[in-house]
Symmetry: C2
Subunit: 462 residues, 2 copies
């Protein structure tokens, strides 16, 4: 047994207690009143990195939540690997649906239940512990290491694009490895080939200066809710195809071979619908359910509101109406370009009699993709094959990790996904949990990955 | 000067104090937690009727807020007149826009500011005081009198259709006179020729069993907000014409002469828009602004909601979306029939992948109209001519007073409108007020109207 493995085994209880301590910090980045807790989680990470033997640890301010940096750069001639993760978590509403309080982590049947357990505290702690094990047992890591842990992933990393340019040298590296990810199941590994980009827009419709009596004024002036639904109705066809002019212009159509690859990843449509409590699927004609979620762009309304929303009836003609929309983007769509198309389309479809305002939402991320043949992925595949005894599926995600686009644009590096969450772990939902087996597996896997990457020539990727 | 006039003058201060006392009761019928206050207002009215000399006063329970009855039936051979009004008021939100607290009535410049001052407490108190003046000075009223004051007008009188049939004999009369109404201005009187009917519907769209991640599931299943906007978009054409099949089938088209009569009522379109803070009017092609509001039916969204509505963004694919809609109806549209058309249209336009539920809102009222030549209107016109020195305009209202339809269906009587509110008095809005000059004028006018009606033959209306 490798020395690091013995170290990991003998410190298992301490590592679990540390994870529980980390999970007790309610670092919800979306809530302004939790900003101090996000900062506290950042400090916790910085301290933990230092304790592991990582050097030059610093908490770097951004306009919003901080970034934690650290490095260990004593492997000359070896590639520089930057490990990424995030210490902020999603909100917990509806909190009444949680079996245990979300910030009082509870271990049951070798699973830890808490907000952030899987996404991403359990996952991001694993590589820190792996590095500690290597440094304490071998005195060295087989690559040069940098760490980049952020506190704003769950709100779309709005301050990272501005934060990164002046720190380009500090974060320069050959490859980013994201510990914010997962595997297909307990026994089936994956390589993640792509993430969708994202772009958000808010529409605000303003009518009269106050709410009005719908009897006295109804039929005589434009109703902002009608105006809004008219605009929204123009954005998507009834069959689910986005109807914004130019929306699909830059979309890369996948080849038959790539689509066949997607079809090889197991998918049970009936089970999928049953889990969601639905009877029918729905989506863009000409694509499978997986394809719609993985390689096709979307336009989804996230929220809508206006006028009277309580029990009963108030015969009001409201003076405003609002909607929030996000698009998920695929290669080669540009988020800023898509926002412009949306704004143009909306202003062209703006009905008479109201003012229509279109505002970008802070969320903006480029679609990301990487080849299975990338040297980082080849190393990851080898480790996963070793550990799971089978070749990883090549999967994609419909979600977005905007910082991967920033790494590519600002640092010129690709990101591989190397995490151990599993889709049933209720991230973003009540009763989020993380398998402690995955927590242990992640520690082991990161030791192996760093060793494998240490055998790679960073220039030629061989 | 008539004896009643002297009485009204010498009791002016007491009447004002009584009005203020009445206005202090927060009798908001829409709020369940104010039900006791509505009942308290009903008791106040009952007590005030008794003090005025009205007999057989009773607070009659309904399934919801009570009705107050009283009579004075000592004018054999004379018509029986039922005076109508309501002691409930609208909600006060947004309460922060009120200059004075809505239930602490404040008198400034001969106006009293309070919720319900004009709609309808000030207006409904006037006939009670008129009757008191007549009874105290003449010992009699020149007609048989009944009073019907309700506590649920502002929520559409949902319990009145069920309440009335067993009380048909009690409320039998020759004419109803509604003290819930107004005049064109301080110097220009009106006869109100019609009110629109009303019919309300709620649409509830149900998708998955929980809110979902818009990245992981977006594009793969139906989004309830999209489904809702698609349905709503199908209900009205972009030009404002209602697109529900059969909606206009029973609408009585007005003659050229009737439309010319409407055109004779002064209307300044620019002023109207300026008051509302709007730059353009909007509505069904082929009709003037007044016609759209008075003689054409409408379909207006009163409220819409679903998903994330706060600052920033939450990339949720919501599992439900909702809307409330009311239609204003004109002769000969039937509210129940229109509800059926709406339900049919909505289920025919229900998109795949979601469950769509259509529920009637409690509000339901038949359109109401009366001829200018009706004997009640002739009496009202004579009194108004006397007091204002000019002939009343023949106007219509886009609003609804559902109980007028119940009086017509259940009691077989017509209702004339005889109130003294003026449109600028902010009913249903912050800073509602009532001109005390109108309060005094109403007392005088009701004395004159009852005298005039006493000269009428109830059988022939001559």
């Amino acid at each position: 047994m490798a020395a690091y493995q013995t170290y990991l085994d003998s410190n298992r209880q301490r590592f679990l207690e540390e994870l529980l301590e980390f999970l007790r910090i309610p670092s919800i980045s979306a809530l302004p009143e939790r900003a101090e807790d996000v900062a506290r989680a950042g400090d916790w990470v910085a301290q933990r990195l230092t304790a592991a033997g990582v050097e030059n640890v610093e908490v770097l301010p951004t306009r919003g939540h901080p970034v934690v940096y650290g490095d260990w750069l004593h492997a000359p001639g070896k590639p520089t690997i930057m490990i990424y993760g995030h210490f902020d978590v999603q909100p917990v509403d509806p909190v009444e649906l949680w079996t245990h309080p979300p910030f009082e982590p509870t271990v049951i049947n070798d699973r830890v239940y808490a907000r952030g357990a899987s996404d991403d505290k359990g996952n991001m702690l694993a590589p820190i512990l792996a590095v500690e094990a290597l440094l304490k047992t071998e005195g060295a890591v087989p690559v040069n290491l940098k760490f980049c842990f952020e506190g704003q992933e769950e709100i779309g990393s709005p301050d990272i694009p501005e934060f990164m340019p002046p720190h380009r040298d500090r974060f320069a590296c050959d490859l980013a490895v994201s510990a914010d990810g997962g595997q297909f199941s307990e026994t089936e590994p994956i390589l993640l080939m792509s993430l969708r980009g994202i772009c958000g827009v808010q529409i605000d419709i303003q009518g009269a200066s106050t709410d009005l009596h719908s009897g006295l004024h109804g039929g005589r002036i434009q109703n902002p809710i009608h105006a809004l639904t008219q605009i929204l109705g123009s954005l998507r066809r009834a069959d689910g195809k986005v109807a914004v002019e130019g929306f699909y212009d830059d979309v890369v159509e996948y080849t038959g071979e790539e689509r066949a690859g997607i079809a090889r990843v197991p998918f049970e449509g009936d089970e999928y619908l049953e889990e969601l409590g639905l009877e029918e699927e729905f989506g863009e004609p000409g694509y499978t359910n997986r394809e719609r979620g993985w390689i096709r762009p979307t336009l989804e309304m996230n929220g809508i509101w206006g006028g009277f929303q309580e029990e009963g009836i108030k015969t009001v003609l409201p003076n405003s109406a609002h909607a929030k929309i996000t698009c998920r983007l695929v290669a080669d769509q540009d988020p800023a370009g898509i926002f412009d198309l949306l704004r143009e389309h909306i202003s062209e479809h703006a009905p008479a009699g109201v003012k229509v305002e279109v505002t970008p939402l802070s969320i903006l991320g480029r679609p990301y993709s990487i080849s299975a043949d990338h040297w980082g992925n080849r190393a990851a595949a080898a480790v996963l094959q070793e550990m799971y005894g089978r070749e990883p599926y090549q999967t994609r995600s419909g979600g977005s990790i905007p910082i991967t686009g920033v790494f590519q644009e600002q640092l010129g590096v690709d990101t591989i996904s190397f995490g151990f969450g599993i889709e049933d772990e209720n991230f973003h939902a009540p009763d989020e949990f993380f398998r402690l087996a995955s927590f242990r597996k992640g520690q082991d896997a990161y030791c192996r990955l760093l060793e494998k990457l240490g055998e790679t020539d960073p220039i030629n990727g061989e």
